[in-house]
Amino acid sequence: MTGTSLTPRPTRAGVGLRLPHLAEVEATRPAAGWLEIHPENFIANPHAREMLQALAADYPISVHTVGVSIGSVGGIDQTHLKRVRALVDLIDPFQVSGHLAWSTHEGDYFNDLLPLPYDEETLRLLATHIDEVQDGLGRAYFVENPSSYVGFGQSTMTEVEFLSELVRRTGCRLLCDVSNIHVSSTNMGYDPIAYIDGLPHDAIGELHLGGFTIEADEGDPTTDVLIDTHAAPIAEEAWGLYAYALRRFGPKPTLIEWDNDLPPFATLLGEAARADRIVAEVFAPEARRAVAG
């Protein structure tokens, strides 16, 4: 793996740029710290790609893959990886990321991020695939912790142990989705603080915040299950975890994700401004002294 982006890493929070907002953002150039895109929305859409290329001259861009499927036993779709690489070469994002998940099986694509058992077999497979992706992209790949509704009884390690070992074996970096930690810890019953404390801090290169939807758990209607819909404002619990994560990891490029039931773009900018305020509060001189003390 060689090569790095020439685009500087941003210091302010960014927002996810989805197709319904693209023309507005291209025309008005709002004051977003940076933009995150899903390459799968642009690869087969020359009109959108043309606008993205123009935006890349004015904004730092992060490419967040949703279809690379590093967890599929069938292997990496090399055709898709080459198309992602072509887009990466076109816009020179400051980083490229994807998910600890799988989404293809025997030629079928599920348009979803499906869970993996955390054991040695999966670890070996993912390490091989991450090496392939990093070689194919010519740069480091940032792997995001998933939102979970189910896991596998055959897992022999925790998600944090699994991610840490992936980092050790491949040199990949991590994208810490703080909202996913809240969603998954609620759904699967673990301590979100211990999860953040357990992550390899040096590998964290980006933070995500997104909204979720609360539903009654069909298997136990007395409890709720949190669905990672990215269709709502960021919950207070996630903002609280975000402040904690900042203290543990230091300031990192932070993304506001909103993918469904999209509000006006200004709403996303408002959420990004809140993230920036939290960074300022956490790293104000008094706060740093308090942590040191």
Partner: protein, 256 residues
Amino acid sequence: MPSLAETQARLSAAILKGDAAAVAPLLVGGRDPRARLVIHQRHYEASLVTALTTKFPATVWLIGDALFTVAARAFVRRHPPAAPCIAEYAEDFPGFIAAWPGADRAPYLGAVASADWLLGQAALAVDLPPLSIQALAGIEAEMLPDLELSLQMGLRYMHADWPVDELVKLHLDGNAPERYVLDPEEVWLEIRGVRGAFSLDRLAEPAYLFRRAVKSGSTIGAAAEAALAADPAFDAGAALGLLFAVGLVTSVNLPA
């Protein structure tokens, strides 16, 4: 303990076929992990049905949300996407819905869905700087039949046995009459899309055959032969000049 391959095969069956019996014993999470699995099953179906609804707006308008959703659900179960770019998914939906039970009462349904698909694909295109007829200057006349032309990427051609362009325009205008009689009529359509917009125009059959052949990579000579088969009086020279005049030609490719 099953292998990862076996685990993914079982979970795939649960997502696509609704058969969760084999994967359920492997799962943990909540009091009933099988109920949690429904979240993934639901997401697969809902996200792709929403994508189809967006891609086939005139078809939805024609048959209504409820019937369209039933057909779309069946389609996504039987024809999952083969790749992650959903913009490229569902090219075969028009054929699927044309064969849907009851579609024989609306024999134009497949053609309307085809028009939806082609309009959507064309509108994603950008246009390239067009060439003028001067691009042919310096090429000897006897070489012209062997030339190939590249046309704008947003061009699509469609032949239908029903005037689906009228239906599409009624849908776009949003002022459909209470009752509308659609009689069979062959139409040869040229769709030109660029940067989110598109036009939909009828061509005469020979001109359609000529342009479609050029667009698909035929030589000018072969395209002219296709048009002349439909109309011995077809003027290939004029048709060629018109391609340049309306800005459709982006490159002239000399034979190797």
